[in-house]
Symmetry: C2
Subunit: 349 residues, 2 copies
DNA sequence: CAACTGTATTTGAACGATCAAAAGAGATAG
DNA sequence: CTATCTCTTTTGATCGTTCAAATACAGTTG
């Protein structure tokens, strides 16, 4: 066994030239079928693999995409990004791409990283999670026409998604909370509260809107107003908010996150012992599963797949081809559990 | 603004040769101080960054390490790997290394990935999580003398770590459960149970051993035997196991995971209403934090740092220098919380 | 038969860095 | 004055691939 085979060594072995072997790999249609077969045979026999660095040097493509790891926050909601990242990696891998991670404390540091990673030319593009409108990061990338797709809408103030200059894939939170609310309506609840975050966050307001739309006919605007509470994310805050909602006569609650739902569920169970809590969370995190909490599940695997599709379109397309900006809104799925904590009996439905 | 600066363009600008500029970057001591200053100035002025691909092609180093994303399991314990990965990325980044992710369904597929990633020569080494003795992966990597460090001991049957042929960093689970048990002893508990997994898993047995050693004097062997329960990981199983322990007179319990602890805590609270549950989990996952559960925290950040240190030693050292195999066992930390779920009152200690 | 067509293959250069060895400039010694 | 040594800088080759253009060859065509 000598050294690793290269194009040149293969070519010599076959009595061909480098370039023909190269063509057999990258542009098979240019090569005579008979030759192609011979080349493929020896490639298989020798286990030849093109050297990534050499290829990258010449083509200026690394088949590597960057993903920024967000600072670990509460970790409950972080779990969903974990699943996303996993799925992203798998999907990209199938198409010969890889994910390179990088960490950054804030958006500014993230941009510095972009610069660095692009300058050394080892990344072809980026996948961003959680952009906001006027996001310095997307602006920076757009200005340099670096390929990127975001998981999450930019939430531009105008509310008009059409003018967004970059592709994104997101989950329709509004549809999710609407479905959750409708489910509770179907179970006979009327005074269904919404436990979310302080107004102003795109995601939060969207989720609230779904709840409000579902109750549009069942409740008066005044009631809607009373039954909507906004608190910072967290279990304790969730319990606090739920207490308020209970005081205002809520018999069920739809939450903007599983953290909130966890706190709320505890509060509801304490208030109405014996009854399974009519609390629905968001994100279907492992905690929700462990606690038997119903929750709205984001189809992160599908999101990752769609993002990869868009990316491939951009990266594998002809160099000058102008790929249209794509926006995809995915429907979440309501996952029903007994809702009463790990030991509660199943719903008698 | 023309095109990206290269060594050659810098050299021309300075009236020097490529190699001198290269030396200024990679071996400053070989360059006259005055020249070095001039070079550094123009590097700063032009924002020059060496092209990673070209460098990689020549040096056969990518400054990229591979990390396999495990299949998402329960996600509760997955959170700890998430933190680890984050810290790993940050630490490597500080030293000019990057993390490339890849997914694999099983060990065999993982090995195929190694092969692929190494052949195309874009990875310098790997960081593995969760190895076991006789692990095909570590054997494969060792046989090819690919640099790698594992997070987790290989748990070889002999129990003798000394003969392990590769470097690892791990957390001393035994010390963790011992500390937890001692804490409960200090609080007046005597019949302290252990809720773990079925015997046979290295990690699980290690954690059980810590509990047993702390109770060595307080309990008879028979009691120890009765107060140790092994069940598959999960909240429901934890509750089930805790029921058993309560029947056998346990007043407190140390668990091998937060999932188990979560179920146990629920069970204990139901059995002794009013009292905060004397349940201690393991891993200090977000769930534990959210539920106010005490737990043994693994210093994953430190583990990541140590792993990076070892890796740097191997990769940045002289090519022929034989780096000694390193084993590091880190002490976990007991994180105390009220233990009574999100709404329970704090301990009246 | 010369001129054209199209297909299949080859050649030389380039990508941007580093390695190995040579060369130039001073200093020191014999 | 030459030889030797050290310090600094330069030269030419090389890593393995792809690009752009050239070549070879067979088949049409007027």
């Amino acid at each position: 066994m000598t050294s690793r085979p290269t194009l040149a060594s293969l070519a010599e072995q076959l009595g061909l030239s480098r370039q023909t072997v190269s063509n057999a790999i990258n542009a098979p249609e240019r090569v005579k079928p008979e030759t192609l077969r011979r080349v493929n045979d020896t490639i298989a026999a020798t286990g030849y693999r093109p050297n990534a660095a050499a290829r990258q040097l010449r083509t200026r493509r690394s088949r590597n995409l960057g993903f920024r790891l967000m600072p670990v926050e509460d970790g409950i909601n972080g779990a969903i990004l974990d699943r996303f990242l996993h799925s992203l990696t798998e999907n990209l891998q199938e198409h010969g791409y890889r994910v390179t991670l990088f960490a950054a404390r804030d958006d500014e540091a993230e941009i510095r990283s972009y610069d660095e990673l692009l300058e050394t030319s080892d990344l072809d593009g980026f996948v961003l999670a959680g952009t906001h409108h006027g996001d310095a990061r997307s602006d920076w990338l757009l200005a340099r026409s670096v390929p990127f797709v975001t998981f999450g809408r930019p939430w531009n103030v105008s509310g008009d998604d059409k003018d967004c200059a970059h592709s994104w894939v997101d989950v329709d939170g509004r549809a999710g909370t609407a479905e959750a609310t409708n489910y509770l309506l179907g179970r006979g609840h009327r005074r269904i509260g919404f436990l979310g975050w302080p107004a102003g966050s795109g995601v939060g307001d969207d989720r609230r809107a779904g709840w409000a739309s579902a109750l549009d006919e069942a409740l008066t605007p005044a009631d809607l107003d009373a039954l909507s509470v906004g608190v910072p994310d967290g279990t304790r805050q969730g319990a606090e908010g739920a207490r308020l909602l209970l005081e205002r006569g809520a018999t069920a609650v739809v939450c903007a996150s599983d953290s909130l739902a966890l706190g709320a569920s505890e509060q509801f169970r304490a208030a109405t012992p014996g009854n399974p809590a009519a609390v629905i969370g968001f994100d279907d995190t492992p905690v929700a599963a462990a606690m038997g909490l119903s929750s709205v599940a984001q189809p992160v695997e599908q999101a990752a797949k769609e993002i990869v599709d868009i990316m491939r379109h951009v990266l594998d397309g002809a160099p000058d081809e102008q790929v249209p900006v794509t926006h995809r809104l995915l429907k979440p799925r309501l996952v029903l559990r007994d809702g009463g904590g790990p030991l509660a009996s199943p719903l008698s439905s």
